[in-house]
Subunit: 364 residues, 2 copies
């Protein structure tokens, strides 16, 4: 790949603050590693609503389509919570996922040794935890039709959403999970609610068939979503890769990442299908949200955003060495005892967003 | 109330084992407190499938309708997981909820002082925890139409389920939550996914309006379901009453109860609307499932089933003294250090289902 086209979309809340720290890393890459990007930056979410009246412009979607990778911050802003369903900031990420066909969201829930104490769970339950949740992100109840709110003859209202999954939608995301498992601990747990939902029943059937046909070397188990929520608390170490639909994945991946005590540390990647020209659309974003409650205070943890960028280097540009270096620098800084507020423990040094970002680049 | 008609439905797995221990309590009630029930017992779930070929007979639903209260065990049996969607054991509880209009499932997540150590969460995070989750149970995606699996022209399959909520369905369950909050810490958190689902948007609107009209003395907050899953792990003590739909309630209540480390201890009540004759249909069941992995071994914890019966005495028969006595007996037995396997801690006495049941009745 000659030029490396990167689209940066900081978004709302703490998004722009933590994204600023990534700029230090790209500066270092160009200075010390002679790696430069053609970087474009644009507004999404509440920031775009304020400027353009829409959560994302078609132009930005086109830019994302032609970029080699998208680095996303976060969207969501209470100031825009009353503007109507089509104009909420969240539409930005939902549209990007759907328009670019980003169907597989990879969400690691990993405990950093230095941060075991930051979890509300006991150390022996979570030490060394390393789960990968593969969440389907362009189907299910997020996008199914019919949907909406209608008024009934008696004056009541009725809210409707539709969960839909087809064989091929389930297969392609299950494939991502099985492929990942082969490079990890070779075990996949497929999660649905097949005792109540037919869409879950089909999910289970399709995963089972695909496994038998192509992945019988991988260990496959099935679990109901309610049980999975419990098992993640009871004994999270039992899981390697979890694959599930859009809605269950939303709850379960947030739950799993909170178990680690390191929510502000966790990156994610959302991948599309490999295109005819060999390119694979991909978007990288922290697992945490826009955190409006702490935005603007300079105290947000930039690590998830920096690690999302490392993941981007690794998966979209095959820059393994540089990704390794960034991840090692993060670990080294944590080992020196520097902490942002979210991962603070007694006796350590509490620092702000910028000091943390600087420290990481200094370690590089 | 002159005769007290009780329908007992033990169900599958550990259901019959733990229900046997309730018989000791009813025997004590009649012997020592001169309280007798007209008790009928019947099969549901896999047990009913084995005997009658259906998960629940219409006759049993009729019995439930005319009983003053239903004490339910649990349904779910891997042996019947391949019989087809209409014949799965779970249909028993789903039909009972719907046919009797049991729309409000009250699920306490309470930490017993003696059991703080049984949780995977740190003691200071969960000590004294007492959350009440009010889950809607006759609507939402569990029952919405259209539903099913269809074959597309290209040979693919498509699984569909529909989430539907109307104004009145939301109002009646929110009312239960607000009324409960007034007797507790006066705070309700309403949970949906209004940033993605219109049904969640309507949910939020209806709860907000009802609150403004009739319950403005109660503190009301709103939370997205994914955030709620995280907050339950991060700081569960922030919650008093949580009200949510059927599917989110399924995951979040299981999650909340697992936090307590006392899943085998937690009862639940599912209530319908007060009828013209003043009766209120009600079903009581443990929060735990049929636990097929430990069924038949005599090691299941009977406490959730016994406390479900205490709840039944309290809510359906106004037998406050007797309910208090049973709850006190459970606490006393735990204080003596008796433990079933699920709540075992080093140094305490591990006992089976029957020894635990006997010990509780001896304390009465
Ligand atoms: C912002 C929101 C629409 C989004 C989702 O629900 O998918 C977020 O919670 C996430 O998990 O990425
Ligand atoms: C058995 C099953 C249908 C049921 C449900 O999903 O409602 C159970 O998980 C519950 O929570 O009572």
């Amino acid at each position: 790949m000659s030029t490396k086209k990167l689209l940066i979309l900081p978004g709302d809340g703490i998004g722009p603050e933590v994204m600023r720290e990534v700029a230090r890393v790209t500066a270092w890459l160009s200075r010390k590693r002679d790696i430069t990007f053609e970087i474009d930056e644009d507004l999404v979410g509440g920031a775009s609503l304020a400027e353009y009246g829409v959560p994302i412009r078609d132009e930005v979607i086109e830019k994302a389509r032609t970029a080699d990778a998208v680095l996303f911050g976060s969207v969501g802003d209470p100031a825009w919570s009353h503007v109507g369903f089509d104009k909420r900031p969240e539409v930005a990420i939902l549209k990007l996922r759907q328009e670019l066909g980003l169907f597989a969201n990879l969400r690691p829930a990993k405990v950093f040794d230095a941060l075991v104490d930051a979890s509300t769970l006991k150390a022996d339950v979570i030490k060394g935890l390393d789960i990968m949740i593969v969440r389907e992100t362009v189907g299910g109840i997020y996008f199914g039709e019919p949907r909406g709110i209608e008024t009934l003859p008696n004056g009541e209202k009725r809210g409707i959403n539709t969960e839909v999954y087809t064989t091929s939608e389930i297969e392609r995301v299950a494939r991502v999970a099985f492929d990942l498992a082969r490079k990890r601990n070779n075990s996949v747990c497929s999660v649905e609610k097949c005792n109540v939902m037919e869409s879950g029943l089909l999910w289970k059937e399709v995963v089972t068939d695909l496994h038998a046909r192509e992945y019988s070397d991988v260990k496959l188990s099935h679990m109901l979503a309610d049980n999975c929520a419990m098992q993640l608390v009871r004994n999270p170490a039992q899981f390697d890769v979890i694959v599930t639909g859009n809605l269950f994945g939303d709850l379960l991946s947030d739950l799993a990442s909170m178990l680690t005590g390191s929510l502000g540390m966790l990156p994610s990647a959302t991948l599309g299908a490999v295109q005819e020209d060999g390119r694979r659309p991909a978007l990288y974003e922290p697992i945490h949200g826009s955190a409006p409650d702490i935005a603007g205070q300079g105290i947000a943890n930039p690590i998830a955003q920096i690690l999302s960028f490392a993941m981007l280097l690794r998966y979209s540009f095959d820059l393994q060495t540089e990704a390794d270096m960034i991840e090692a620098a993060v670990a080294a800084v944590l080992a020196t005892g520097l902490r942002t507020a979210d991962i603070m423990s007694p006796g350590l040094a509490r620092v702000g967003t910028d000091v943390m970002g600087e420290a990481i680049v200094r370690e590089l």
